[in-house]
């Protein structure tokens, strides 16, 4: 189902037209489409992807976009090189990552008990997770880069394993400096067979949006 949510903008500082939201949704579909193609090749299995939803919401409602924000999750955070205002954030359940790692690593299987914090992970496991993040973010960014004819290369992904709300603080803080509204382009990823449940989000600042719309020749409001 196609979902576009636009919060009624009482503070009057950001407005996006339905056309602009549509564009973002399409970018999200294209980016996530490439990301999950790469993932399914990696695990030799089909990956279900939901349609992308675009949210323009007040910063304090961002946790509401996630089911069970008060649970532990893996977070993989990548900033685009030379465009640090554009990030790709991936959130996976603990079980998802464990199952994924075990598929990719035939020899040493890990279990929930082995995964208590990022610091406690053994190097090999950590590098697998990092690589998964890299592949997803890289393919997402690459798809957009090709579309827009610009360079978009994600930096080294940063991992976190903690309460999801706590992880979101970092992201919300960063995107809340110049505005009380944030844009999140969100796509759900699922592989039933391996209990993979995740979300991949593109988070652009308002300045990045201006740049993107300019490249696409979309008229944008002076409000952005």
């Amino acid at each position: 189902m196609i979902k576009i949510s636009v919060e009624k903008n009482k503070s009057g500082d950001i407005i996006l037209t339905p056309e602009q939201l549509d564009i973002l949704k399409e970018l999200g579909n294209i980016g996530s489409g490439h990301a999950i193609t790469a993932l399914s090749e990696l695990i030799n299995d089909r990956v279900d992807v939901s349609l992308t939803a675009v949210y323009l919401i007040p910063f304090w409602k961002i946790p509401d976009l996630f089911e069970n924000p008060n649970t532990e999750a893996f977070g993989i955070y990548s900033e685009i090189r030379d465009k640090p205002d554009l990030s790709i954030v991936q959130i996976f359940t603990k079980v998802s990552i464990i199952n994924l790692v075990n598929i990719l690593n035939d020899e040493d299987q890990i279990s929930i008990e082995d995964v208590r914090s990022i610091q406690e992970l053994d190097d090999f496991t950590r590098s697998i997770i990092s690589e998964i993040g890299n592949i997803l973010a890289g393919n997402y960014a690459n798809a957009l880069a090709n579309l827009l004819s610009i360079k978009l290369v994600p930096g080294v992904p940063k991992l976190a394993l903690d309460n999801l709300n706590a992880m979101l603080d970092t992201i919300i803080a960063k995107y809340s400096i110049n505005s009380d509204y944030t844009i999140i382009v969100k796509t759900k990823i699922r592989v039933k067979e391996i209990k993979l449940n995740g979300i991949i989000c593109l988070v652009p600042s308002m300045n990045i949006l201006k740049e993107l719309f300019k490249i696409l020749n979309i008229k944008y409001d002076a409000n952005i």
């Binding site: 946790p63 706590a166 603080d169 919300i172």
Partner: protein, 203 residues
């Protein structure tokens, strides 16, 4: 007004944002219920919001527990004046407000929340020299070199409290783990649980 419900009221002030204000029954303020307790009877405080409890009520009053599930780089700022039965908590996100021309959520900023909370307290009869502070949070969840928001939040809040002469009597700050905080507004006790821990501990 039913006594067995936690009533939250929004006070529409001169800035355009909203805040959650929990007031006693004697208040004649504007009532607009936006936030009810969760299944545990707790009030979850969103980022950039504050809650204020005025315990000076003749009627039987149920003091709520104010919670934040998943405090990362944000700071939970608690002030209380035991003698005058006032306490409050804000959920601060950023260190400084100076980049914004219009402030819709003052409690989003460390450099504003202290003074705004203080003013609310003094308006309700608190005595500044009796006010105490508890601060929780400001951790670094993603290990990025430029991820200093938590640290800066701690610094600015500490400086602000110092500036107004308010003593920090308890704290659980910094580190690399998220926290859950529960503030009991009846006895001003604070329970904190870090992500890696099994249990809450009282500060």
């Amino acid at each position: 007004m039913q006594e067995n419900l936690q009533i939250i009221r929004i006070i529409k002030k001169s800035f355009r944002g909203k805040s959650i204000l929990i007031e006693d029954f004697n208040s004649d303020r504007i009532i607009d219920r936006i936030k009810l307790p969760n299944d545990n009877g707790e009030i979850v405080l969103p980022i950039g919001h504050y809650a204020l409890i005025n315990g000076k009520s003749d009627k039987k009053y149920k003091f709520p527990t104010i919670v934040i599930y998943g405090l990362g780089s944000c700071i939970a700022l608690i002030l209380f004046d035991e003698k005058n039965k006032l306490c409050g908590m804000s959920h601060v996100l950023l260190p400084k407000s100076n980049l914004r021309k219009i402030i819709n959520y003052p409690h989003k900023y460390a450099d504003l929340s202290v003074q705004y909370l203080l003013k609310e307290f003094l308006d309700r009869g608190a005595q500044k020299e009796l006010i105490k502070a508890i601060i929780v949070g400001g951790s670094k969840i993603f290990d990025l070199a430029n991820n200093v928001i938590g640290e800066e939040n701690i610094k600015i809040i500490t400086d602000e409290l110092d500036k107004y002469g308010i003593k920090i009597i308890k704290k659980s700050i910094g580190g690399m783990q998220g926290r859950i905080i529960k503030f009991n507004t009846r006895n001003f006790s604070v329970l904190v649980k870090l992500t890696g821990d099994n249990k809450f501990h009282e500060l």
